[in-house]
């Protein structure tokens, strides 16, 4: 079941959303890594990848924050994030942000050792069965940035398929965006709500107990919609499911 990786170290970058809104996801992710024998450390002073400012077009502010993050992560070994979106910010967007700047080489070096959590578990550590158990029906949403900018499609499903007791049902339109999009959800709330409405209809059609997502940002959107609609379907990050921590949050 476990495939112990003695001597492997990883820096855990919790991301600002998980840190502030869903600390349990961070704890679940650390538990998963430690269960695999990975020595986890959290570099002091890590805050944010800078995506919010970057996506808003505020490149100077994004540059300042992301540049600092690069420096904090220098020499920290593998970096693992419980977010496809923040990982994609580093791997896919840092090259554009730092092109022709003093951080360019450091950013390139960081990109080569940065991983999203499920990607790290399945592709780097080579584990698929984490010994998790969940009695109920699960459906999985493909978060856009992980799917399209990191190519994550099978990793999450493979891990969920090994959760004992769980019935994993496909989510119709699982690759369609939930409508979050950062500040898009606020600036263009009406469009975001229309996208969410379609997503919620698809989620409801699965009659799942649990909607599982790999990104806290998409979770906020879909859980917010489900909660407002009074749905019985709860939303959890995949790390919480895999670490048997679905009951920790309300």
């Amino acid at each position: 079941m476990t495939n112990r990786q003695s001597g492997r170290h990883a820096a855990f970058f919790v991301t600002c959303l998980v840190d502030n809104f869903f600390p349990e996801i961070g704890e679940a992710a650390v538990r998963l890594l430690e269960d695999q024998g990975v020595q986890v450390h959290v570099p002091r002073g890590l805050t944010c990848c800078g995506q919010m400012a970057f996506n808003g077009g505020h490149r100077a502010e994004a540059y300042a924050v992301a540049g600092r993050t690069i420096e904090v992560l220098r020499g920290q070994g593998d970096v693992v994030l419980p977010s496809g979106s923040c990982t994609a910010m580093i791997r896919h967007l840092f090259p554009d942000l730092f092109r022709g700047t003093p951080h360019e080489a450091t950013a390139a070096e960081l990109i080569g050792r940065t991983y999203e959590l499920t990607e790290y578990l399945v592709d780097v550590l080579g584990v698929t069965d984490l010994g998790a158990r969940y009695e109920g029906r699960i459906t999985f949403h493909d978060a856009c940035h992980g799917l399209r900018f990191l190519g994550l499609q099978q990793q999450g499903r493979t891990l969920l398929n090994h959760v004992a007791g769980a019935e994993v049902v496909p989510l119709p339109g699982s690759t369609e965006c939930c409508g979050f999009g950062g500040m898009f959800a606020v600036k263009h709330a009406a469009i975001s709500e229309a996208m969410l409405a379609r997503k919620l209809a698809n989620i409801n059609s699965t009659e799942a107990d649990l909607l599982v997502v790999g990104d806290a940002s998409c979770m906020m959107q879909m859980a917010g919609g489900l909660s407002r609609a009074g749905s019985r379907t709860r939303t959890r990050h995949i790390a919480e499911v895999l670490a048997n921590m679905t009951g920790v949050r309300g």
Partner: protein, 474 residues
Amino acid sequence: MTQANLTFHERVDAALHDETLQTAISRATTRFVGNRANALAALTDEAALRDQARAVRAKALARLDELLIRLSDNVTAQGGHVHWAEDGAAVSRYIADLAQDRGVRLIAKSKSMASEEIHLNQALEALGMEIAETDLGEYIIQLAGETPSHIVGPAIHKTRQQVSSLFEQHLGMSPTDDVPTMTRTAREALRRQFLQADMGISGVNFGVADSGAIVLVENEGNGRLTTTLPRIHVAVMGIERVVESLDDLKILLQVLARSATGQKLSVYTSLLSGPARPQEPDGPEEFHLILLDNGRSTILGGPYAESLLCIRCGACLNICPVYQAIGGHAYGGVYSGPIGAVLTPLLQPELPDQHHLPYASSLCGACQEVCPVRIPIPDLLLRLRADAVAAGKAAPGEHLAMRGWQIMMSNPAFYRAGSKLAALGSGLLAKDGRIEQLPPPLDTWTNRRDFPPVARKTFTARWEERQQEQAREE
């Protein structure tokens, strides 16, 4: 449905509440998306073909000047005339002069986004010319006095019932929603126009430099009639639409119809090389190719050059959840959807609301995923957002908020304090573990969604406590 005076947000709101529009867009995009997926799945190596298509387009852009001159030389050698137009005004002037000189009264026109881009019809109508759109979709919106809502299907925002009423009103058709009856009615009306027109204006899907041919991709045959029946044929081509050779064309034709409508090839693919030769019974007496720049040469060397790879298949519109929600007209520019959100700020910077368009995207990346020439549309949207901010177009207070965010995220002590403050604030707002009403400027979130409260203790704080405990134990 003239929406010129509405703001972007007002147009979006209107579209979201227009049930007929929602039905029409949903039907059309669902069909397009499904057909495209099936057509591409049938290819043995879709990825390689798209790589080739991108390479063909990139090569053409890299040697644009050389290829355009070659195209021009070959068109001229075949008896055609070539006119280089810097902008829309230059195109209208050239066509108007030509029409006046040759005594043209009626112009038949086949579908052309380039002509839409420069509002050619209005310009020529203002000079007293009559224009008949002959593509069925374009004909419908011409009758309705509207603009195209989609690059490939200009009237996809209309339901069958709406088209039927238009035909009743304008063509005297008896009430019916039988599609064959409706198309027959349109064909009869259009056939008269074809036979009377003195000039045909077409767009150009591709111009082949080596052969001097222009290529028209269409399904109705109206493009063929437009370019062969009237005695003068004028083709309007955006300068970026050149390809070097017929071999290159072959690659692009394999991806264009598949990406657009899911067809292997469109019903009609015409390669037109100049006017009719003396021994040929059909074809126009004169052929004029207008090469339209209209800002493209400025885009070419800059950070948005990849937008010129576009072959106008419309796949990014169909797949886009934002386009699916609001349709094409809400974008306000000639080009809509994801590629429109890139092109409109570049080609129509004078539109007051254009800076909103790059923000009207969740950056989900579906557009890039289906693009047959792999244009990184989300990256381009992000650059346009940075341009909008640099041009001072950010919402009031937003820049200040971002400066505050930067200071907080750059200093762990401030970050910790900020987390605690946010937890306190959200503690006041939250009930039963959720926030039902956020204060401005985030209040729009909670119109239809709950918001999670900020955790009382961050992961970082919990981690530090754990480290301290472990240190004590050791």
